[in-house]
């Protein structure tokens, strides 16, 4: 039966069909669903790891043990896992090992727009890039074969539009060749200088072998399609689809399914056949630079942008000079930025922080939205875990700061890389106050379990890290737990932590309001007779509250009865 596969779902199907046995990942948009779908196959041991570095090392260990293995992450996750990546490239694999990295051009849900292709080049690791769901499935299977053929991990690079688009993909049966025998081999697996020097020679030869393979089309991964030769397009991934849509048969295409290493002669020969050659690639001038290195004259970032997503109309405009016709409504289109959901437990916490007028070192998660107005209570956001370590840095530079500043970090992010920063606070002794926003789930990426939730990826009971015990074990004696639905208690708890000597951890504990297991109160209503139109209830920025005809009004379709707004109403008008 034909079925529309999400790109990420097709990768998971590819894992299944390729006989993959171990999958370990940390969630991150737009890569998350690969591992969620993989976990639906009983034949695959799947897990959420505490972070991407752990996940990649698990995949490495499984490969050495003889199982085809896999890990997935978003682009910034590969920064975390870069350490094992660069050396796994030297050791190579036993059974096939595949790494998926999902870039986010346009930053739909990311803090930067980095281009992961540089990691393939930097770590000298083969990288494939599919352009639709059928290729997601096919390239995943291919990646395992290539991993074993060339004795290397293989990276699959997706971008958001491939990961989160649905298209048809044909399926086949699973082929599982069982565990490959492990043979002790220190020269291969123990990367001390003497062994690594020899392995580097192997890696460089491997790249030459891979280039030769790519020159010959890489078994159909690199393809040439000649139509009109007036325009030649060298491209890969989703940009191939955009170019086809915009230019159709008015252009010829060199589609690169393998983006590292890149062929040389194949590109030269294609360029020689075409009058004007464009390189169409989102983000950096990666393919373009390669072309120029070998003297191939192409038009790339001189005409196209380094920023954001491309589209068929962008390509039509740049190459054909075509402008789209469209209509426009003559009204003030008010922006609609993302907000904390109605009933979100983070709202009460941020309101308490606002009342305390503190500086807030922020982190990555739904609660990053606490930066936006009317709460406006986050001062910095850098990367996973940085809230804790950066707060320590601020307090080291300015000890007075410690009494009027806090870090906020979610439960999953804390386990990912906040705990190391907390150990640093305890060890190097600043009076820092770290607030762990424990909503019992990894929220932003769509509700994944983590080591604090007491459940594994399949929802089965699992060990739960006690945040209180962990904080105490690393040397934080002052641990305070508050319920962020209770504004007075939350404010008082944080105040105590700030005033006490020594570092403190405040755990703001309340499950995500969107969790299916969470029971809600009936929606609240505003008693219009009691409402004095003071707008106090609007100060928390709840999307369910609005002013209609001069009185506050609560949208019954959104309100979850959290009662945070009613604690602000001095007139008891919210019932």
């Amino acid at each position: 039966m034909k079925k529309l596969f999400l790109g990420n779902e097709a990768v998971a199907r590819g894992l299944y069909e390729a006989g993959c046995r171990v999958v370990s990942s940390y969630p991150g948009t737009p890569s998350t669903e690969v591992t969620e779908f993989a976990a639906t196959y009983d034949e695959i041991f799947s897990e959420w790891a505490p972070n991407e570095k752990v996940a990649m090392e698990v995949a490495f260990g499984a490969s050495v043990a003889g199982a085809r293995s896999f890990c997935a992450m978003k682009h910034v996750g590969l920064n975390v896992a870069a350490d094992p990546l660069f050396t796994a490239s030297y050791t190579g694999v036993n059974a096939g090992m595949v790494i998926l990295v999902a870039d986010d051009p346009g930053m739909h849900s990311s803090q930067n727009e980095q281009d992961s292709r540089h990691y393939a080049m930097g770590s000298k690791t083969m990288m494939l890039e599919p352009s639709d769901s059928a290729e997601c499935l096919e390239y995943t299977k291919k990646a395992f074969e290539l991993s074993e053929k060339f004795d290397t991990p293989v990276i699959i690079r997706l971008t958001t539009r491939v990961a989160h688009s649905r298209s048809v993909a044909p399926v086949e049966e699973r082929v599982d060749n069982g565990l490959k025998a492990y043979e002790k081999n220190a020269q291969k697996y123990v990367m001390v200088p003497a062994n690594a020097k020899k392995k580097h020679v192997v890696v460089e030869q491997r790249i030459l072998d891979q280039i030769a393979y790519c020159e010959n089309g890489a078994d159909g991964l690199n393809t040439v399609e000649y139509n009109s030769k007036k325009i030649g397009v060298i491209t890969s991934g989703i940009c191939y689809q955009y170019a086809k849509e915009a230019l159709g048969e008015n252009a010829s295409y060199l589609k690169l399914g393998c983006v590292y290493p890149l062929p040389v002669d194949m590109i030269k020969n294609f360029a020689a056949e075409c009058e004007t050659v464009y390189v169409i690639e989102e983000l950096d001038d990666y393919i373009e630079t390669h072309c120029r290195k070998y003297g191939v004259n192409v038009i790339g970032k001189d005409a196209f942008t380094l920023q954001g997503e491309y589209s068929q109309s962008l390509i039509a405009k740049v190459i054909l000079g075509k402008d789209a016709e469209f209509m426009k409504a003559d009204v003030n289109i008010v922006p609609r930025p993302p907000v904390l959901c109605a009933g979100c437990p983070h709202r009460g916490l941020f309101y308490a922080l606002k009342q305390l007028n503190v500086t807030v070192s922020g982190d990555i998660g739904c609660y990053t939205l606490g930066f936006s107005q009317p709460l406006g209570m986050i001062d910095t956001v850098l990367c996973m875990g940085a809230s804790v370590s950066a707060l320590h840095g601020r307090n080291a530079a300015d000890p007075e700061n410690a009494k009027k500043s806090v870090a906020v970090i979610g439960d999953s992010t804390f386990i990912h890389s906040g705990v190391t920063g907390l150990i640093n606070i305890a060890y190097n002794a600043t009076d820092s106050v770290v607030i762990i926003l424990d909503n019992s789930i990894t929220g932003m990426t769509g509700h994944q379990q983590n080591p604090t939730t007491g459940k594994n990826i399949k929802g089965e009971p699992a060990n739960a890290v006690s945040l209180e015990a962990l904080a105490k074990a690393v040397g934080i004696q002052n641990v305070i737990v508050v319920d962020p639905y209770n504004l007075a208690e939350t404010k008082e708890g944080i105040k105590q932590a700030l005033e006490a000597d020594g570092p403190a951890v405040v755990i703001s504990r309340r499950p995500c309001a969107l969790l299916k297991t969470v029971k809600h109160n009936p929606p609240l209503k505003v008693n219009a007779d009691k409402c004095k139109s003071c707008k106090m209830c609007m100060k928390i920025g709840c999307p369910a509250i609005s002013m209609k005809d001069g009185k506050a009004q609560i949208d019954f379709t959104q309100c979850l009865g959290c009662n945070v707004c009613s604690q602000l109403c001095k007139f008891g008008a919210i019932e």
Partner: protein, 190 residues
């Protein structure tokens, strides 16, 4: 010739389910189909858009300005926001429900008056319906998306009603099927 539908709304309104049902129905009719979705940060009460494209062979999964044959808007302001994406001879179906964006909640901006009139004045073929009370009548406010799927189905001559019902049956949990079928009919017969 390929065709395109954009489904636009506010994160949490159920636009993803609508695009999945549409995708399944079109695939069942034998078309090549591509659907592009928004996940993650953009879903948290922000403006969201999903693209559905179909035809003999579809390359790009996204829709650009002036390219959509139909826009299905779950909310008025979102209809105005995405109107630029409608083909000059396209049709826009608008749920007249209003949801205040944060600048309006904060009092920094006013929700614009006369949105539907402005869309009509821009030259668009507009159909409106008030889907929220219909969904409530069908059994739950959450079924707004299914009422709107019904309204979209009525405007798509190339897909039989039976195909829609089959796609709906395969996409919603069995215990909510009757409620959703009722919601669909209300949108379809609107």
């Amino acid at each position: 010739m390929n065709k395109s539908i954009m489904i636009v709304g506010v994160g949490g309104q159920g636009t993803l389910l609508a695009s999945r049902i549409l995708g399944a129905a079109l695939l069942d009719c034998g078309y090549d189909v591509k659907v592009s979705e928004v996940h993650g940060m953009s879903q948290r009460g922000g403006s969201v858009v999903t693209y559905v494209r179909w035809g003999e062979k579809v390359a790009s999964p996204i829709i650009e300005k002036g390219e959509a044959d139909i826009i299905l808007a779950f909310e008025q302001l979102e209809a105005a926001r995405w109107l630029e994406y409608l083909k000059p001879d396209g049709k826009i179906i608008v749920n007249t429900q209003q949801m205040d964006p944060m600048p309006v909640v904060m009092g920094a901006a006013e929700y614009p008056e006369g949105v539907i009139d402005a869309i009509r004045a821009a030259g668009a073929d507009v159909e409106t319906l008030d889907a929220l009370p219909m969904a409530v009548e069908a059994g739950t406010a959450k079924a707004v998306n299914v009422v709107l799927i019904g309204a979209m189905a009525k405007n798509m001559a190339d897909v039989d009603k039976e195909v829609w019902l089959k796609a709906l049956r395969e996409s919603v949990p069995a215990k909510f099927l009757d409620l959703n079928l009722k919601a669909f009919e209300m949108g379809y017969n609107n």
